[in-house]
């Protein structure tokens, strides 16, 4: 038998136990955040996060670059840019090509290839590319819409190799690239597309 007081609590319970409205985009953002965490932990060996290890490695890399740069620079300068093996310059630089030997030693940025991704959805309000190269972060590669053609596009800098990606439409709808191969491996239950980037 429920007395008056218990009845009050039962009424409170019945109101508070109602399922909340779930915003699909919030849930999508959650999955993207978890995917980013997965990517981060997958590429970062545990020892790398120990205090001192990262600093020592960076110091070593800088020192090596300085030493090799000091040894190589006269030769490179005499050969002149473009005289030897060259690689594509990283996206965002001025287009000048860098000597491959120096680029490979100091950083692998010069190996990046510029790739334009295009997507057609005239009804979309917002489109972005998510993939292993954005660490599945929906904010890193927003696409811009060309008003004349209705095409969404973005240019990203990618390392040579295989990449998996998809388009995120209006923060909620996950779409494979219809022009690309479907990735056989799945990421958080969502279909992806494969992009192969060749060596420069």
């Amino acid at each position: 038998m429920i007395d008056e007081r218990d009845e009050v609590i039962e009424r409170v319970r019945s109101v508070l136990r109602e399922a909340p409205i779930v915003d699909a985009s919030a849930k999508a953002r959650l999955l993207v955040a978890v995917a980013a965490e997965r990517e981060r932990t997958a590429v970062t060996p545990r020892f790398w996060s120990r205090p001192g290890v990262r600093a020592a490695a960076v110091s070593g890399l800088v020192a090596a670059a300085l030493v090799v740069g000091w040894l190589e620079w006269p030769k490179l300068r005499s050969d002149g840019p473009g005289a030897g093996a060259t690689v594509a310059s990283p996206v965002g630089l001025d287009g000048a090509r860098a000597p491959a030997s120096l680029a490979r030693i100091t950083t692998d940025l010069a190996a990046l290839r510029s790739v334009q991704l295009v997507f057609r959805d005239p009804a979309a309000h917002r489109v972005s590319v998510v993939g292993d190269f954005t660490e599945w972060d929906a904010h890193r590669a927003p696409m811009t819409r060309d008003s004349a053609s209705g095409l969404w596009s973005v240019t990203v800098a990618l390392r040579p190799g295989r990449h998996v990606y998809a388009f995120l439409v209006d923060d909620t709808i996950w779409v494979q690239d219809p022009r690309a191969m479907e990735a056989p491996d799945v990421d958080f239950g969502r279909p992806g597309s494969v992009l192969l980037v060749g060596q420069p």
Partner: protein, 205 residues
Amino acid sequence: MSRSRPLRLVHGEAPLSLSPPDGESNGADERSLIIHAAKGGDVRAFATLVDIYYARCLRFALHMLFDRFDAEEAVQDTFVRVYRAFPKYREDASFEAWLFRILANRCRTAGARTRRRTDVVHYGEVPERPARVHHDLALAWREEIELALAALPIEQREAFLMHHVEDLSYDDMSRATGQGVSALKMRVKRACDALRAALTESDDD
């Protein structure tokens, strides 16, 4: 081009079923399998766990924080932390207790942040109880409940929600909060007393 694939589908497959036709124990077994697979790094199983627990976590966070943005953020942080800490999770322990421990911590942190934010807001003189015209009695009742819930001390609110809304046992609540069972029972009792008093008073008005 199709743009209607829901996020949880895997190449057109249906998501894992959690409602076996032959009883609750099989459901619990299946859930254990999903937790085991997620702990082992199966991303599809983890996405299924999100599907299972997202709404419950959001409900708890909304009742703790009373702000949708803060609640969604707390739930997101919770699942990212669950993913990160899964290797340390012992499968013989209650998953729900572990999940709600992380969620309650995130809510406490977010609540403290919100209180700091609102501490600087001065409203001046406001009536103790704003005058409202309620055409919808159910809506009025809901608002009264939310006001009464918000007036509870945070540890009482947390205990009440865990026990009466999320159906956690006192043992699981103890694991989730780090408090003893007796203390939690006392918190729930005090919360019930306060809610009864506030809502009975409301009915009398």
